[in-house]
């Protein structure tokens, strides 16, 4: 464990433009990927890429938050922050996965759910709530991976997994360090202190039992990291596929049920 790296450095690494976004892992890991668009209710959200493909020869539904590569693409995908349509598309694809009895893999990385008047008008809160509710009962295995910045409810909306795994330099937090510092200390410049206090690194969260696994990044290329992640996911899915639906759902429920200190 490399404790010398400060939490805020991890935050910066997670946000770095050079760091691959969710779509990178999806495309490298999933063969013959067919992207499916739209929420069938209102629109199509570029911040979430979803569809079907093969993982190690078996069909899966894969969903990823995607920031985009060029500045134009980033504008179009609003920097990977999903709108209600993005979450509803993700849920549609998850229900489709349930129908066809294939597992779901979610790649998470966004600073938060998209923030805007239009998102509120179309029920950002309702969209996230619905995903939490439905994912808790989804009758197929769900693996969630935090690959970048796991920004609060906007990240959790794809994060109700049987297994939640984080890359070493990903972070996952209830609020951004800047937001926390600005609310508590009226000074967003104290973000580094807030990052420390929030305990948002992969190793911290693993210790708390909020996630099951940290994939090490140090000294590895993006390709190697992705391949290690793939190997882990394939093994996890093999284990989850053997479980009865009841056991799968009970274990998922009980895992989240235990979270909290009182």
């Amino acid at each position: 464990m490399s404790d010398k790296i400060k939490p805020y450095e991890r935050v910066q690494a997670a946000r770095s433009n050079a760091r691959p976004s969710g779509g990178y892992y999806l495309k490298r890991m999933i063969d013959n990927f067919v992207e499916l668009h739209g929420d069938r209710r209102y629109g199509e959200d570029g911040a979430i890429v979803g569809g079907v493909g093969f993982l190690n020869g078996r069909p899966v539904t894969a969903i990823a938050m995607e920031r985009g590569a060029t500045i134009e693409e980033r504008m179009q995908r609003h920097f990977g922050c999903p709108t209600p349509e993005g979450y509803r598309k993700a849920l549609r694809l998850m229900k489709q996965a349930e129908k066809f009895k294939r597992p779901v893999i979610c790649f998470i990385g966004c600073s938060g759910a998209y923030c805007g008047v239009d998102a509120e008008e179309r029920g950002q809160g309702e969209a996230i709530a619905e995903n939490l509710f439905e994912m808790m009962g989804l009758k197929v295995p769900v693996i969630s991976v935090v690959v970048g910045e796991g920004g609060s409810g906007g990240a959790l909306a794809l994060g109700v997994g049987d297994t939640v795994v984080m890359l070493e330099n990903a972070v996952y937090s209830v609020i951004s360090p800047e937001g926390c510092a600005s609310i508590l200390w009226k000074d967003s410049a104290k973000a580094a202190d807030a990052a420390e206090a929030l305990k948002l690194t992969a190793y911290d969260l693993n210790k708390f039992g909020a996630i099951e696994k940290v994939i090490e990044e140090k000294g590895k290329t993006s390709e190697e990291i992705c391949d290690d992640l793939k190997e882990f996911i394939v093994k996890e899915l093999d284990a989850k596929r053997k479980k009865s639906t009841k056991d799968l759902l009970d274990e998922r429920y009980n895992k989240f049920r235990k979270m909290g200190v009182y």
Partner: protein, 267 residues
């Protein structure tokens, strides 16, 4: 921001922040904490709300003594909990239990904005989860009064995970065929909106209550655009299809009891 200037649960006098009139608290409690001068709704503490909704002496509280710890050892959190306990007269930001509403049995939770803005940490999440589990086991409907500034950041990831935990319990309660009425009161925002507040079979709201996910100021700063009039108010949410009923406070109990009665009828 509370409309009335009351620092404790039952002061002798309150001043309406909207019109400035000074009102005896006994008068206020009889007027359901609505300003008799200008009609503005005052934020109510959980115990005041309980008195308004539950039948006299019908409430049996669960997990009353559960208190928050400081799992991340977050700076100043212990102090804030102490202050919130004094301000609200409660051990945490929600009270839970079984009760009757006009004779109709139900499980009820009531959040309290005097306790750290009704923010959701481990205890709030755990208490509401236990309530839904108990209601599932006993086949009881749940009536839930929401008010919250969102997640409690001092508990970090534990706070965030309460959203998933409670939503799971709501799901199991829903799958068992039982009714959940969510009543959104001023303000209901953030992680509570993005979980159990929006998961009611029936979602009610008080007039003009602030309801939304992202904070209005954050949206304004992020987008640089002026917010439309009435943005994120109950009426706005109803117009956009996210709320079933806006009900005036004096009629809340009556409407809830009607709905409970309709759902207790078994063919």
């Amino acid at each position: 921001m509370s409309i009335f200037n009351n620092k404790t649960n039952s002061p002798d006098k309150c001043t309406c922040k909207k019109c400035g009139v000074e009102v005896e608290s006994s008068v206020l409690s009889q007027s359901a904490y609505i300003c008799p001068e200008c009609g503005t709704y005052m934020r109510m503490g959980a115990l005041q709300r309980l008195e308004l909704i539950a039948d006299n002496k019908s409430f049996k509280e669960m997990d009353k003594s559960m208190k928050s710890k400081n799992p991340l050892n977050f700076p100043d959190y212990n102090d804030k909990i102490e202050k919130a306990m004094t301000a609200s007269g409660l051990n945490e930001g929600v009270i839970c239990g079984t009760a009757k509403v006009d004779g109709n049995p139900c499980a009820i939770f009531i959040m309290d904005s005097n306790f750290m803005m009704g923010s959701m940490g481990s205890v709030v999440g755990e208490k509401i989860t236990r309530l839904f589990e108990k209601a599932t086991e006993k086949n009881l409907p749940v009536v839930g009064f929401c008010t919250s500034g969102g997640a409690r950041m001092q508990e970090g990831i534990y706070s965030l995970m309460q959203m998933a935990k409670v939503s799971g319990a709501v799901k199991r309660h829903s799958d068992s065929g039982n009714l959940y009425i969510a009543v959104l009161t001023d303000p209901t925002t953030g992680g509570v909106t993005a979980s159990f507040a929006m998961l009611g079979d029936i979602i009610m709201a008080e007039p003009k209550a602030l309801i939304g996910f992202a904070g209005a100021r954050v949206i304004e700063q992020t987008t640089g655009k002026k917010l439309p009039d009435g943005f994120q108010r109950a009426e706005f949410m109803l117009e956009h299809g996210f709320i079933d009923i806006i009900e005036e406070r004096p009629r809340l109990k009556y409407t809830i009891s009607k709905l409970l009665k309709m759902h207790s009828h078994v063919e």
